[in-house]
Amino acid sequence: MKPGLLGNRDVLAGLLFAAIGAAGFTVALAYPFGSVQQMGPGYFPRVLGVLLMGFGAVIFLRGLRRAEAVPGRWGWFALTVVTVSMVAFGWLMERVGLVPSLAVLVLVSAYAGPEFRWREALLLTVVLCLLAVAIFVWGLGLPYPLFAWEFGS
């Protein structure tokens, strides 16, 4: 069965490359181009952008011809949960200290797995928090407060 456009591996890859190229090119328009002899900061990125759009187009067209599907299913759930856990850690780290941030990171990221068990995850949280604090704070002497409460500013 032929995949639709949204399931066509190389069509998607081509679009992604072209989009990155176009974005880079557009942003670089604001930087001075200069000349070949004296390239400005906008020269190299604009050339790259054009090249990437070209490659994207080739890959896109080839995708239309070959019509190969994206293999397997997309793991959107795992991807979202893992990403959220990391972003939450970064945000919390500057507000509530290392230990609560770590606890959130471990618990949330563990939830991304196919065999999540509460008791195991809690135990893992305790062990990893202890280990991380021992290595990074006590061992390497990184200056992070273990607990804090700094909302407001």
Binding site: R9, D10, L12, A13, L16, F17, I20, G21, V27, A28, Y31, P32, S35, V36, Q37, Q38, M39, G40, P41, F44, P45, L48, G49, L52, F55, I59, R62, P71, G72, R73, W74, G75, A78, L79, V82, T83, M86, V87, F89, G90, M93, E94, L105, V106, S109, A110, A112, G113, P114, E115, F116, E120, L124, L128, A132, I135, F136, L140, G141, L142
Partner: protein, 504 residues
Amino acid sequence: MHDVLSHLALGFSVALSLKNFAYCFLGVFLGTLIGVLPGVGPLVTIAMLLPITFGLDPVSSLIMLAGIFYGAQYGGSTTAILVNMPGEVSSAVTAIDGYQMARQGRAGPALAVAALSSFVAGIISTIVVAFFGPLVGQWALEFGAAEYFSLMVMGLVFSAVLAHGDLVKSLAMVLVGLMFGLVGTDVTSGMPRFSFGIAELLDGIGFTVVAVGLFAVAEIVQNLAQTEKVEVFSKDVKDLMPTWADIKASTWPALRGTVLGSLFGALPGITASVASFSAYMLEKKLAKDPSRFGHGAIEGVAAPEAANNAAAQTHFIPTLTLGIPATAVMALVLGALTMQGIQPGPQVMTSRPELFWGLVASFVVGNVLLLVLNLPLVGLWARLTQVPYRWLFPAIIVFATIGNYSLNNSAMDVYLCAGAGVLGYVFAKLDCQPAPLILGYVLGPMLEENLRRALLMNEGSFSVFVSRPISLVFLGISFVLLAAMVVPSLRRGRERATEDGDAG
């Protein structure tokens, strides 16, 4: 000759000092410990452990990083043999026959042969580094901007051509990497580019941020999204000793693998996986009965393991003497050195001889330690391969995330890493290889700077790249390589070859 010996004496005096010996041991131990965990490759291991080495002086931290690297590489092979879940592509080749040996109850000899081949290759390739490193360094002193530019182009072309999968997509990945590398302040004009008013982006996106996101995070998500059970043979590791026939059968393959590995490792852009795969194919060609390969042939373990480890060592030649990382792992090492205030390049050899020679001597020390650690402790490593992934991946995320945060104490780095993870996962699903991207990313700023400098000095004429002979040779090789890939018959052969490699 005399020079090399006196330099090596200096090196050993550095590497055998109590402090550096301890860090070498620690590096090899931690590297093996983490590398043996299923699904954790050398790159992730190094990225995770990088912050630990920052407190050390440059020599110790380099020695420890190198120890972590080959420790992790070796640990990955153990996992490949026992669990058929290699942490990275280069051990995937070992997994083909190693795993079959394990299934036939010969896990012990497979592990022992892997350890011995790695050891022999490690020692021989160290000698190669000691002799050829200085020569390359001397040669590179004559390089101008044009030569550096062409050399980097060659490295990038190599990385794209030799990456598994589609050449066009790999080249596009190089370009994406080059583009990401531009983020930050432009060296020549001092103008911030692609920083979108975010202060943290003025210094560019940190290398570990990109590497951990693209490799570790993306890989974890990939592993979580597929629920496939693997059979583990860790309990069967009893008879470690290979038979005399095993040793005899593996000697020549190991030596041939060493030669191939040392050769390939010294070329920028060629990863250890290419070396180990070529070594495997060579043995298959030379064998009287090629059909044994894939069904537990011991040569299929010895040759790629030797090539793997030899390449791992000789990768340091272009990295340290030219300042051009051969692989993503080497890019991490290079990044670590730069953060220590050392600008890698031909002058390192003369300005910091204790750094280069201390590292070379530490290869010998590290390889001995690797052997001493691995043979008796194989039971422990085997048990570690049974740690369930659902415990492992949160731990990897924790260490990778804290590691990234701690480099600049910046939450922005963690956000960017998460973003790189999303991008890396999407790329992986679309069958786009991350290795060319990361190399492009590292070389991007250098490539642009040398291009601009070369053109500035030559009044804007591109002829400078072909009128200088060394530069012409580099560009010529890149061109021939690309041309060869476009010839359809060769391309079909390559697709078959990479499919064979992926089958492990």
